[in-house]
């Protein structure tokens, strides 16, 4: 066993969350802040999002521009961003085995931030039956193929999903010179801004099949079509040579699992409290790993926030653990998903079904801590819950629950 190289804070993953954390930590004067990135370039998912949708309303940016901004900021603040380095496994509670062209190494830190992101579930993980032809992608793979490698992707594509990332996939298909034959969603309508959905339907003439699922992939060698089924039982074959499975994010939680961190059953990422602390002291989780997947702005905000908690940890603060925060169906998950009375980070939630003007109830032991009416909620869209109620949490009174009551439930 070689001896470990020591740093102050080790951050795994140079996406928006990891880079934002690194920038703030370095700017706050932490000596050795090191970010490990397994890809050849830092920036995370935005690197291959060669479209708008990043930055702020006043300063819209493309993904790559946003990535460059974050990389530059982290570097200028004094953090070290090492690309081509994979964190393989844990060597100790706060040290990791890494691998790079320089060989294996062990790096030990005083705090570790996991910011390893989330991926879209590929076809097999969704248990879509059929043959195993070429031409089956996720949005992430499609974007890498088209925007990072300039590869040809077929001519006629079906996009599975109708949320923001699905429309991004449709844009990427078109950018690659192919046609979007149809988009489809199991839900009753698109889960994106109405203007965006209308633009695809009307200007690009892409039909959106609602209440529809893919039941089989067809074709030997190359995809020849997808069989779909409508909720009413009708089936059809859509001839195509490409299909893109979009959304359905799952955290890249391998390191979290290997550390045996407590996982949240809803997000499947590590359970975190409002300081983004995991169940292991000194290990923090930020970005899509903790909530698969929110906007890059949310990931960046997480990174900044986690940095604050890391600073407190480095300063010797040792807070008691939070109590579990769980959602009740039809809500799917909430993050953070542990809570302490001092938590201030706003919450993000997802619902499994469409909810018309739902009222959220936060309760502990039957006691209502908070009530909040939301606008109509759609699956695969972010719901937000401010953290103004957390001071009412009794750390000794057991789990806190978030549930909804609705006037009408659609779908």
């Amino acid at each position: 066993m070689t001896t470990a190289r020591e740093v102050d804070v080790l951050i795994v993953g140079a996406g928006p969350a990891g880079l934002a954390a690194a920038a703030r930590l370095a700017a706050a004067g932490v000596g050795r802040v090191e970010v490990l990135e397994r890809e050849a370039a830092a920036g995370g998912v935005p690197r291959h999002c060669a479209h708008g949708g990043y930055g702020t309303f006043l300063h819209p940016l493309t993904g790559p521009a946003y990535a460059r901004l974050l990389v530059t900021a982290a570097g200028q603040a004094g953090a070290t961003v090492r690309t081509g380095v994979t964190a393989l496994d844990w060597a100790g509670p706060l040290s990791l085995h890494t691998l790079s062209p320089d060989g294996p190494e062990t790096v030990a830190a005083r705090a570790v931030v996991l910011a390893t992101g989330a991926r879209e579930r590929p076809r097999a993980a969704r248990l879509v039956p059929g043959t195993r032809p070429a031409g089956v992608h996720t949005t992430g793979e499609l974007q890498r193929a088209v925007h990072l490698h300039g590869q040809h992707i077929g001519t006629r594509a079906v996009v599975v999903g109708a949320e923001d990332v699905s429309y991004t996939a449709a844009d990427t298909v078109r950018a690659a010179g192919a046609t979007v034959v149809a988009m489809l969603t199991e839900h009753t309508r698109a889960q994106t801004a109405p203007a965006r959905a209308a633009d695809h339907r009307l200007r690009h003439g892409v039909p959106l099949l609602t209440g529809t699922t893919v039941t089989e992939l067809l074709g030997h060698g190359r995809l020849s079509g997808v069989r779909v089924r409508h909720r009413d039982g009708r089936t059809a074959v859509l001839p195509c040579d490409t299909v893109v499975f979009t959304g359905d994010f799952v955290p890249d939680h391998e390191l979290a699992r290997r550390a045996r961190l407590l996982l949240d059953p809803g997000t499947r990422g590590p359970a975190v409290d409002g300081a983004l602390r995991t169940s292991r002291p000194g290990v923090f989780a930020a970005g899509s790993l903790a909530h698969p997947a929110e906007s890059a702005a949310t990931a960046t905000r997480d990174g900044v926030h986690a940095a604050g908690a890391v600073l407190a940890h480095l300063g010797g603060a040792r807070l008691p653990p939070g109590v579990p925060l769980a959602v009740a169906a039809p809500l799917r998950w909430i993050a953070p998903n542990r809570v302490t009375p001092s938590d201030r980070l706003p919450y993000v939630l997802r619902t499994a079904t469409e909810l018309a003007r739902p009222v959220l109830y936060v309760t502990q032991n039957g006691r209502v801590l908070h009530r909040e009416r939301l606008r109509t909620a759609l699956p695969n869209r972010t719901l937000r819950l401010p953290a103004g109620w957390t001071h009412r949490v009794d750390p000794g009174a057991g789990p806190v629950s978030v549930s909804v009551s609705v006037s009408v439930t659609v779908s």
């Binding site: 691998l99 097999a124 996720t138 490698h149």
Partner: protein, 462 residues
């Protein structure tokens, strides 16, 4: 070394042509490579070796404890297991001697265990032992509730199903066997003592013919005028779970066969995944390697009983293979002395295990029954298959081994480069995956797919 995938085929007759480069055909080619005087060709319809049934099985190296005693299959499985275990060690084929537990879930299955133990004895397997429920749950803490006992068969192993035929074929071509891919044998005629084989790439001539065409062995046999058996493909669908599920299971968990059917197994793989399957569906279509909603639902229902926690894990792949079942309860390995051919048919569900013993048996038939003069034998230079583990030494020698491309399976650029430059190079992404594991992990190519494709296209264009 001759490996071709296009262009005309050699005109000069071969002493032996083996049709079908599955694990069986490749093993036979390797066995004949030990005879330097023979000119041998292995011809394959597809663009890679091992792309038929051999790529889609449960990857178990069986002891043969539950074979039909006295059958040819029983003997060849028993001998094959021993031979392949040794060969795997010599060649660096991944193998994990995990052992198997036949788990009884009801009284009928429990009652069957002692009979299976006796059957194992009759198959010359003496290490099987019965376990009570307490010991069973101690060995398999994640097993579902209700298991009543088990038969422990410590000799069962899991092996890499892709490296095995590749090792055989590599060794064969390195010792002078010609491999012709993309050469489906469509016609066969015999004039004098020579077969003329019509393929999409022209004709090949052969003094002896070995029919190792798997699911199509009966079709090829009929072209030779033999009507011994008919293949009825029996589909087996399988679900592969992510490596993070590996800690849930320590042995191969086999079902106890009863009158009601065979049931499904849960088995670790040499790469740390967990398999659930296979189904058993008799079909007509020999290309029906698709999975079905019914099949996957049935597997998940059975898996939920065997290892409930498994179903919470991510699925990395779903696939299906077709067993070359026939109307007979044994292999159909037959020599046809009059036309100088040997048919290797009906290698249903144990062909990976038995491959080396089948090859030895077929070599014997070629000599004894078809009168082929094998000539002197030589020892083969061992083949060393790739050791994929990143290590300090390898990376110090070449940093490309430290540049990971496939993050889920930790496959480096160096390993991809080596596979692409191998003696039997892959021609497709799937071929590259079988050689390196690139794109075989939980993301299924979301992260590395385009980068791997770029490397493949760079090589195939060059």
């Amino acid at each position: 070394m001759t490996v071709t995938a296009r262009g005309p085929l050699p005109a000069e007759p071969y002493d032996v042509v083996i049709v079908g480069a599955g694990v069986v055909g490749c093993a036979i080619a390797r066995a004949l490579a030990r005879r330097p005087r023979l000119r041998v060709a292995l011809v394959e319809a597809q663009d890679d070796i091992g792309q038929g049934t051999s790529k889609a099985n449960t990857a178990i190296l069986h002891t043969g404890f539950d074979a039909v005693p006295g059958s040819l299959e029983a003997r060849l499985v028993r001998e094959g297991a021993r031979l392949l275990t040794a060969y795997a060690a010599e060649s660096g084929i991944p193998l994990d001697p995990v052992g198997a537990l036949l788990v009884a879930w009801d009284e009928e299955q429990l009652a069957a265990l002692p009979r299976l133990a006796e059957k194992a004895e009759r198959n010359e397997y003496r290490d099987a032992s019965l376990l009570g429920p307490a010991e069973l749950h101690e060995r398999e803490p994640h097993l579902g509730p209700g298991a009543l006992g088990a038969l422990h068969v410590p000799g069962e192993s899991v092996i890499c199903p892709w490296t095995t035929p590749l090792a055989y074929a590599t060794q064969a071509v390195q010792h002078g066997v010609d491999l012709h891919l993309n050469s489906r044998v469509e016609q066969v005629s015999r004039r004098g003592d020579t077969h003329t084989l019509g393929t999409g790439r022209g004709t090949l001539r052969a003094r002896r013919l070995v029919n190792a065409a798997g699911l199509h062995a009966d079709t090829l046999d009929r072209r030779l005028g033999h009507h011994d058996f008919t293949v009825t493909p029996r589909r087996g669908q399988l679900i592969v779970f992510d490596t993070l599920a590996r800690d849930l299971v320590r042995h191969i968990l086999l079902p106890v066969p009863t009158a009601l059917g065979k049931g499904v197994l849960v088995a670790p793989t040499v790469y740390g995944n967990v398999l659930l399957g296979p189904t058993a569906e008799d079909l007509d279509d020999r290309r029906a390697t698709q999975s079905t909603a019914e099949g996957l639902t049935a597997l998940r229902a059975q898996g939920a009983r065997i290892l409930p926690a498994l179903l919470d894990e991510e699925v990395t792949a779903v696939y299906a293979g077709l067993r070359a079942a026939t109307e007979h309860e044994d292999y159909r390995i037959t020599a046809h002395p009059r036309d100088g051919s040997v048919t290797v048919g009906g290698i249903r569900s144990t062909g990976l295990t038995a491959s080396l013993a089948i090859a030895a048996h077929v070599t014997g038939l070629l000599a004894d029954e078809t009168g082929l003069d094998l000539g002197p034998a030589r020892a083969l230079e061992p083949v060393r298959m790739r050791d994929p583990r990143p290590s300090a030494d390898r990376i110090a020698a070449d940093p490309e081994y430290g540049t990971l491309v496939c993050h889920c399976e930790h496959v480096s650029r160096g390993d991809l480069r080596d596979a692409l430059a191998g003696p039997i190079p892959p021609r497709t992404l799937d071929g590259l995956r079988r050689r390196t594991r690139a794109r075989a992990g939980r993301c299924q190519g979301t992260y590395c797919g385009p980068a791997v494709r770029a490397l493949l296209e760079e090589t195939t264009r060059a």
